[in-house]
């Protein structure tokens, strides 16, 4: 006896619901992503504490004592994690991020990189905390 004969594979209203969820995701992405040409900087934090703020105009490699063996690279297409000792390398595979609101997360290293818009005409190169 098939005990769940009446359960359907999919219904029309399910497709509508899933489409609505996808549309909401696209809307959230559209709202949070910022396509304006403002100056941006990356906030690197470890365990909730801000480690450094790096301007995305200052190309080069950065590493910080708090984030161990991680190397952050700022280049033409944004900031990326170019080296990390974590097992999964998810942070490295995320690649370059450059738009405000985008983030790279490395859970094993408790590290997050988040891109933000520079407030006003404030021209930051690097701020170390």
């Amino acid at each position: 006896m098939n005990i769940n004969d009446d359960r359907k594979l999919i219904r029309a209203r399910d497709i509508v619901l899933i489409a609505a969820v996808l549309a909401a995701a696209a809307a959230v992405y559209w709202v949070t992503a910022d396509f304006s040409g403002k100056k941006r900087y990356a906030v690197i934090s470890c365990g909730g504490e801000t480690v450094a703020e790096v301007s995305l105009d200052r190309f080069g490699d950065y590493s910080f004592p708090e984030t161990g063996n991680m190397v952050f690279t700022v280049g033409g297409s944004g900031i990326s994690v170019s080296k990390s000792g974590c097992p999964d390398k998810i942070c490295m595979r995320t690649g370059n991020i450059s738009r405000a609101g985008e983030a790279i997360i490395c859970v094993p290293n408790r590290t997050a990189v988040k891109v933000k818009n520079a407030p006003g005409e404030n021209d930051i190169d690097v701020v170390l905390r």
């Binding site: 995701a25 959230v28 997360i105």
Partner: protein
């Protein structure tokens, strides 16, 4: 009053139950490994949630406590193979997916695809919440839009797989009469 949680349903012999649970756990462990191969090609550490199939099958053809046992065992497997952080994230994600699946399969007549899509979304949300607590930052939720798309795709695949596999499971192991 003593609460006794019964794992084995009455309509099934002990050896059959052991075989079935072993099989489901092996499937979830193997799919977990397969998933980690897939996630190499995907950015931002997306997990496509294939190993949820085993837990969903357990909810459908065994009972809720057995499915919960499988969920915890799966997290232990991840803990042993991929470390504490991955284990904690897997546990949070799987528990969220488990709750959603139990609610939808036991209380409603929601379709396979809808249930597995919502379970996959819960899985992603649970993982993000775990990451949020571990990192003490809300910026992890920047991944949410991308994860929504990948979870929905994975959910559709899982739902179709369930629809195909479930009748065969019932044929092989027999109905345990646990399902309404």
């Amino acid at each position: 009053m003593k609460m006794v949680i019964k794992f084995k349903p009455d309509g099934i012999s002990a050896s059959r139950y052991t075989a079935l649970m072993g099989l489901l756990f092996a499937v979830s462990a193997a799919l977990n490994w397969l998933e980690s191969l897939f996630s190499v090609f995907l950015p931002t550490g997306m997990r496509i949630g294939l190993s949820n199939i085993a837990v969903m099958l357990a909810i459908l053809c065994i009972n809720v406590p057995s499915a919960l046992l499988l969920t915890v065992l799966k997290a232990c497997f991840v803990l042993l193979t991929r470390g504490v952080t991955a284990g904690a994230m897997s546990l949070c994600g799987s528990l969220a997916a488990f709750l959603v699946t139990v609610l939808l399969f036991r209380r409603t007549k929601a379709s396979y695809v809808l249930t597995s899509v919502l379970a996959a979304l819960a899985h992603s949300l649970g993982q993000l919440c775990a990451a949020c607590m571990l990192l003490k930052t809300v910026s992890v939720f920047a991944y949410l839009p991308v994860l929504t798309v990948s979870s929905s795709a994975a959910g559709v695949l899982t739902g179709i797989a369930l629809k195909v596999i479930f009748p065969e499971m019932v044929k092989t192991f027999g109905s345990t009469k646990q399902i309404r």
